[in-house]
Each structure stands twice: as structure tokens, then as C-alpha cells.
């Protein structure tokens, strides 16, 4: 992999943001609204529950991290869709750019845009609702990294889906994270799910992250086993997603779908 083509993909996204700052709306404003909304819900729950449970870290923290994971996925997906929307795939793949450099560029682009969203969420959560998520230190950062890797995996799967089924299938991409959220144990433990849902939950790294988070916040000590399991599942799924993307790309080159994208991208 060469650095310049990867930098080109990242730079292109920077140019787009510079040219139309309103694109930041999705990365910054929606997540802020989410945090404000859930922040007040957790405050309200704190006042009415009488259970002594502090909902701010458990609920608001979970919302923040799940939102981050979703933004990472959307960062990868949106950067890819920019090329579909602008009918640029033919220009891109007739250049020396390799598929790994392209995906590398999409991932770096996502790091750039999702980090903006994460910083914004942390500022609002800390400033308005006193959520000191990172007071947990390094263990939490490790869990965030697992979520980040899973977000990248979802993004790669989503773009592979669009590449395989055509531009119109972008509508399958947007609800992907929402479809997985019931299984991800974001707000409740995996044990409350019926057995068949638990099977799916165990195949999703976020379930380990949120179980670990809850354990950490309730003072149960560092859940190293959960972190290890989550990391392994996330790594395997990332490799699988990269493999699937490679297969889908090769199929698109074999069948001519990639070349046809220039004509179909506009529709």
C-alpha cells in the first residue's frame, strides 16, 4: 500500500467538507442532539426511579458509544457513497489505486469524521450532564477501540453490499446499525435476551463492550475476559469483512458492474 493514494482519498473528503461545511451536520449536529435528548431522559430517570442507580453513565454512556460506532460505520459508507453519487468509481479504479488503498482511505476518512463527532459528544456529555466517561481511563479506551473496529467492519460490509447490489441498495446501508442494536446489548445485559438472540449477540463485539462497560461502571473490576473476547470477535469479523469486500470487488470487475456504475450512479 502506498501513502499517496490513501492520502488522496482522505484529502478528497477534506475538500468536500471545506466546500460544503453543511456536510458536518451529520457528524456533529445529530450526535449532539442525541446526547442532549438522552441526557435529559437519564436525568429524569434519576429523579423518578428512586433506585439509587445513576443512569447518566449507564444509559448516556451507552448512547454515546453506540452513536460513535454508528458514526464510524457511516463515515466509511458515506465516503464510498460520495464516489457513487459523483459517478467517480470509473475514474478511481482506472487509476493505479488498489482496492486496499481505497478501503484504507475510506477508513482514515472515517477516523477523521467520527473523531469530530466523538469529541463533540464528549464535550456536551461532560459539560451539560457531567458524564465523566473517560475517568475510567485506559480500560474504557480499549473498549472504544473494539467498537471502532466493529464500526469499520460494518462500514466495509455496508459498502460491499452497495457494490454488490447496485447504487439503489444504499438504503440498506443506513439502517444496518439500527437493525443490529437489539442484539448489541447496548442498554440491557445479554442475559435478558431470548436464547436465539443471545447467540447473535455473542457474535457481535458490541455486546462484550457494553457488558464490560456496565461491569466497569458498577465497580466490578476490569472485565479483561470480555475485552479479550470482544477484541477477538472484532478482529475476526474485520478480516472476514475485508475478504468479502475483496471478493465483491473482484466480482464487480468480472461482471462489469464497476464499469456500469458510472452510468447507474446518477439514477
Amino acid at each position: 500500500m502506498k501513502a499517496r493514494p490513501i492520502a488522496a482519498i482522505v484529502l478528497r473528503q477534506f475538500f468536500l467538507l471545506r466546500g460544503s461545511p453543511v456536510r458536518l451536520f451529520g457528524s456533529v449536529v445529530w450526535v449532539t442532539i442525541d446526547i442532549v435528548l438522552w441526557g435529559f431522559i437519564t436525568r429524569y430517570l434519576n429523579t423518578v426511579s428512586g433506585s439509587g442507580v445513576n443512569f447518566v453513565p449507564t444509559l448516556l454512556g451507552a448512547v454515546l458509544l453506540w452513536d460513535f460506532c454508528e458514526r464510524v460505520m457511516q463515515g466509511v459508507g458515506t465516503a464510498f457513497l460520495e464516489d457513487v453519487w459523483s459517478r467517480n468509481l470509473l475514474n478511481l479504479f482506472s487509476s493505479p489505486l488498489s482496492i486496499s488503498e481505497y478501503v484504507g482511505g475510506l477508513v482514515l476518512t472515517s477516523i477523521m469524521t467520527s473523531s469530530l463527532g466523538l469529541v463533540m459528544m464528549l464535550i456536551v456529555a461532560l459539560g451539560v450532564f457531567h458524564l465523566e466517561l473517560f475517568s475510567q481511563g485506559l480500560p474504557l479506551a480499549a473498549f472504544v477501540l473494539v467498537l471502532f473496529v466493529f464500526g469499520i467492519t460494518l462500514g466495509i460490509v455496508a459498502t460491499a453490499m452497495v457494490l454488490r447490489f447496485g447504487p439503489a441498495s444504499e438504503w440498506l446501508m443506513w439502517p444496518l446499525a439500527a437493525l443490529l442494536s437489539p442484539f448489541a446489548a447496548v442498554f440491557y445485559p445479554v442475559s435478558v435476551l431470548p436464547p436465539w438472540m443471545q447467540w447473535i449477540a455473542h457474535a457481535l463485539p458490541p455486546s462484550y463492550v457494553f457488558e464490560g462497560m456496565r461491569s466497569l461502571l458498577s465497580g466490578g473490576g476490569f472485565p479483561s475476559a470480555l475485552l479479550l473476547q470482544g477484541t477477538l470477535v472484532a478482529a475476526v469479523e474485520l478480516l472476514a469483512a475485508a475478504y468479502v469486500y475483496g471478493r465483491v470487488y473482484r466480482r464487480a470487475v468480472r461482471t462489469g458492474l464497476l464499469a456500469r456504475y458510472s452510468a447507474e450512479g446518477a439514477t
Partner: protein, 275 residues
């Protein structure tokens, strides 16, 4: 009846490359989709400094050929060598030596002209990119449009921007799919001159598709007629019509386009002609 008159169309003169080292060498290229043959055993070359016209009716296989040369469509058989590099073996090195401009592959409209050139310059790994971008902006009279989004350009300006992008890496092989289709006659003339200069001065091999036969006659050193995925004819666009009993290249084109039987089985008709 007309088929008999068309028999000479099945004959191909030997390719006449100008230089030993070809900008492009296509050998026995085939593409089949689920039993349908889109391209059948197509072989041709483009020499350094040579402009070759790839002609044929819609659906003849021109874009399929171009897509395979660009590496965005995998051939079922055959090979594509760009400046001596086999694209199947070293895709990045082969594509670094080529570039293209086509009406159906415009530059991203949400980036400015300058941003697009920067973006593609990085993709092609251009050294001294700032100078190269300035050079191209000046050469294609785009300097005043550097900060204008490509989507806001007129069609003539968009063509110039696409050509500037196509030359960002000083390609050995340039593929141009109807480069003057959206230009007024004056702008088209300027672009034709520029492209001819590119071949003669810089030694760039150019594969040019166009439906404007007058343009092809004035620009191309050699033409290839494709029909139904096969090369039916190859030769000098100025002498080819006369050699095949046509008054003009356009008349020859129309005959080729309207003779599906000839196109479907040229070898059978060649045998018939021999009898």
C-alpha cells in the same frame, strides 16, 4: 445482396505501428457474459505517437474494449499490455502509464477544478504536483476556473478539465471516448489540435472513439472498425473508404453498422468472397 458488396470489409490490413515499443498491445481479447460474446478475439496495437480511431456502432464493443484496457472489466481471455506492462500481472504499473477521458466519466462535480487535479495527481503519484497542476490549468485555459466546482462548468470547460485530468500523469497511452462530443466547432478544433500535438510532440499513443467521421479522418492515423465484438476493418481512414468502394468514411461506417450478417460471421463471408 448488399452482403456481397460488403465482402471486402472482412479484410484487415496488417497493423502498422510506428514504433517498436507499443503504447498499447491488445491480443486475442475476449469477453463473454453468460453465453453472450461481447468481444471476440480482438487484437490490435497503438504505437507511440500514433492516434488510432476505434469505430463502430452502438453496442459494437468499443466501451467494453476501453473498460478492459482500463482494468475495470476483467477479460474472459486475451491480454492487454500498456507500454510493455501486462495489466493482469502488474495493474498499478500499467495504469500509471495510461489515463482516459470520457463523456460518461466526468470529474466529481462537487470538487473544484484545482481540487480534482490535486486529487487525481495524488492518485497517480505525481511528483512536483503543484507545478503540474499549474501547468495543466494554464495549458487548458482553466486557471481562472481553478476554484470553480466542476459541476458548475459549461460542457466545453468540463471537457477541458477532463482532458487536463487525463494528462496529469503524462500518459504513454491516452484513451479518449468521444472527447469533443459536447464541444462547439471552435473548441473541438482546439482540442483536436492539442491532442494531435500530444501524439506528435510527446509520443503519446492515443486510442480515440468518435462518431464524427470527419473528425476521425482528420485526426486518426489508423482506424479499427468494431462490430458485434469483432474487428472487421483496419487501415488508414483516408484510403480505407475508397479501398472498400465507399465514398466516405461515414458511408463505410453506415455499411458496417447496417450489415449484421457480415458482422456476425466475417470469416464465412471472406470465404464467399474468395469463391
Amino acid at each position: 445482396m448488399h452482403n456481397r458488396a460488403m465482402n471486402p470489409l472482412t479484410e484487415r490490413s496488417a497493423p502498422t505501428p510506428r514504433n517498436d515499443r507499443q503504447a498499447l498491445a491488445v491480443a486475442k481479447l475476449c469477453k463473454k457474459y453468460a453465453g453472450v460474446t461481447a468481444l471476440d478475439d480482438v487484437s490490435f496495437t497503438v504505437g507511440r505517437g500514433e492516434i488510432v480511431g476505434l469505430l463502430g456502432p452502438n453496442g459494437a464493443g468499443k466501451t467494453t474494449t476501453i473498460n478492459m484496457i482500463l482494468g475495470v472489466l476483467e477479460p474472459t481471455g486475451g491480454s492487454v499490455m500498456i507500454d510493455g506492462v501486462d495489466i493482469a500481472k502488474d495493474r498499478a504499473r500499467a495504469l500509471k502509464r495510461t489515463n482516459f477521458a470520457a463523456v460518461y466519466a466526468s470529474l466529481p462535480g462537487n470538487l473544484t477544478v484545482g481540487e480534482n487535479l490535486w486529487f487525481f495527481g495524488l492518485l497517480y503519484g505525481i511528483e512536483s504536483l503543484r507545478n503540474r497542476v499549474d501547468e495543466l490549468l494554464k495549458e487548458f485555459d482553466l486557471a481562472h476556473l481553478r476554484d470553480t466546482k466542476c459541476g458548475l462548468l459549461s460542457s466545453g470547460e468540463q471537457t477541458r478539465a477532463a482532458l487536463a485530468k487525463a494528462l496529469i500523469n503524462k500518459p504513454t497511452l491516452l484513451l479518449l471516448d468521444e472527447p469533443t462530443a459536447s464541444l462547439d466547432p471552435s473548441a473541438a478544433q482546439t482540442i483536436r489540435e492539442r491532442i494531435k500535438q500530444l501524439a506528435s510532440r510527446d509520443g503519446c499513443g492515443i486510442l480515440w472513439t468518435s462518431h464524427n467521421m470527419l473528425e476521425v479522418q482528420s485526426v486518426c492515423d489508423r482506424v479499427l472498425f468494431l462490430s458485434h465484438g469483432k474487428v472487421l476493418l483496419e487501415g488508414d481512414p483516408r484510403s480505407l473508404p475508397g479501398a472498400h468502394g465507399a465514398a466516405s468514411l461515414e458511408e463505410l461506417f453506415i455499411r458496417v453498422a447496417r450489415e449484421p450478417l457480415v458482422c456476425a460471421d466475417p470469416s464465412a463471408l471472406a470465404s464467399e468472397a474468395a469463391r
